[in-house]
Amino acid sequence: MPPDARPKSTGGGSHVASRLAQQDPAFVRWLLILACVAVMGLLVVLPVVAVFAEAFREGFATYWANITEPDTIHSIGLTLFVAPIVVVVNVIFGLAAAWAISRFQFRGRTILTTMIDLPFAVSAVVVGLAFMLLFGQQGLLGPWLKSLGIEVAFNVTAIILVTTFVTLPFVARELIPVMEAIGSDEEVAAVSLGANGWQIFWRITLPNIKWGLLYGVILCNARAMGEYGAAAVVSGRIEGKTQTMPLRIEYLEQSFNSPAAFAVASLLTLLAIGTLVLKVWVERLTRQEIQEAARAADTGGAH
């Protein structure tokens, strides 16, 4: 399951900290803060710095040559092709699943929720194997599809399928709690005023959930671009054909071209950093919106 990243309630922290009984002695405070900084520095910051240091070890010209090498360019293109498809498909699924689960009570609802979580728990390698058993040469559907002229295994289609499996929960998991928290009052009101399904979705639901949706998209995209284990199994890792960026990193590393591997890794690290920056930005916007709504409610009540 993804770490819970819903915008936290703010304001609570500062007045809680001011309560005397909850205060730790100053030296304990600073000791613990220092320990945190050390842990994060060692575990997270150092590796990120090292990626860029290794990528630029032989200068910018080499870095650029490594990035613009034709097969690397192809892998970047492939990743940029696969990820948007996966994101769009999982957004459609996420919206449908969140609507079903947050708006209706039906038998099997909890089983449905558990099933959405399943890809978090299953190893990516097992996912790859499962799709090979379906679409491989000795697979259940492989020979039949081949007779129709469709080849899935060792193909971009297989990469798209497994990546969709692996990133399936992200959008739905982000949307369900948001939609449950908002409730269905506004939508029910819209129905009573004669709105149809699409009008409700575009004018009420979507504006309400837009930040949650955006955050789900960001996460889903980051994971889609970084998917390695399942793609490694089903893609066949054919250079210049089915090599996504993470697979390219592995290939370059194994051919002892470490600077090139780190050059590709630096791009994916930028993606991760960008994802975090976007996340902070989305959280800030959500907070502002909540505050504005509260203020509007206050002035509305005063009149």
Partner: protein, 275 residues
């Protein structure tokens, strides 16, 4: 919120439920069913022979052992980080907070690549650690270290909301009754966090058992020593030993299902306590 009455009022019940079911069936149920189907086509003796080789046993031991150790370490680190981020104010807190999610956003192949180079004998960390006899690359320790990194966000994010919503009166009462700060934290606060700690622990464990991308880069993949179970599956697949691969995958799948059920149970317990 979600009520039976909604079904008569709000549109899209049939459409959304049937689309969700179809999508899950095609993408999740059918592929996983294919694994079980292939596994069930083996005789019991064949299955046991495939999943219980000495090499496979060593791989399970490493996969489960390293994930367990990493999850325990992450509980410790998670407690520390969540405590500091919720309770204290200090410059740079926002940055520290957003960095927690980096292991989640960073592709695992990148994590594996950079960790193996950091702790290799000539790496930034390795040049100091290797002379001390600490080999944190291409070893079992390397597997634990990279799993600690991968699982870091889970415990922190599970703990933060619980710690934030903890009633301050609990600690005031303890202090009024003469408990020292240490006793208060240890005997009053931490027990309230047990369910969240357990959830975070189970999530980290599940992630660690399934993890492949980062581990293959750092472990060296030596049979009987640093080979994890998912790597064994890939090996069997590359040798076109689909049966053996499927058998080992079934074992991992069973572990995933069991953990998922535990996690769901824990979350439902927590939801019940909250209301």
């Amino acid at each position: 919120m979600a009520s039976l009455a909604n079904r008569r009022v709000l549109p899209g019940f049939r459409m959304s439920v049937s689309f969700t079911l179809m999508y899950l069936a095609v993408l999740i149920v059918v592929p996983l069913f294919a694994v079980l189907l292939r596994a069930s086509s083996m005789t019991t003796a064949d299955f046991v022979r495939a999943v219980w080789t000495p090499q496979a046993r060593a791989a399970y031991a490493l996969t489960f052992g390293a994930s367990l150790i990493a999850a325990v370490i992450d509980v410790g680190l998670g407690l520390l980080l969540a405590w500091v981020l919720v309770r204290y104010d200090f410059p740079g807190k926002r940055i520290l907070d957003s960095l927690i999610d980096l292991p989640f956003a960073l592709p695992t192949a990148v994590a594996g690549l950079v960790y193996s180079s950091l702790y290799a004998p000539k790496g930034w960390m390795g040049q100091f650690l290797v002379p001390l006899g600490i080999h944190a690359a291409y070893s079992r320790l390397a597997v634990v270290v990279v799993l600690v990194f991968i699982g870091l966000p889970f415990v922190v994010r599970a703990l933060e909301p619980v710690l934030e919503s903890l009633d301050p009166e609990l600690e005031e009462a303890a202090a009024c009754l003469g408990a020292s700060r240490w006793t208060t934290v240890w005997c009053v606060v931490i027990p309230h966090l047990y369910p969240a700690i357990l959830t975070g622990f189970a999530l980290t464990l599940a992630r660690g058992i399934g993890e492949y991308g980062s581990v293959v880069f750092v472990s060296g993949n030596k049979p009987f020593q640093t080979e994890i179970a998912p790597y064994l599956i890939v090996q069997k697949l590359e040798a076109f030993q689909y049966k053996e691969a499927t058998a080992i995958a079934t074992v991992l799948l069973a572990a995933s299902f069991a953990l998922l059920i535990v996690i769901n149970f824990l979350e439902r317990q927590r939801a019940r306590h909250a209301t």
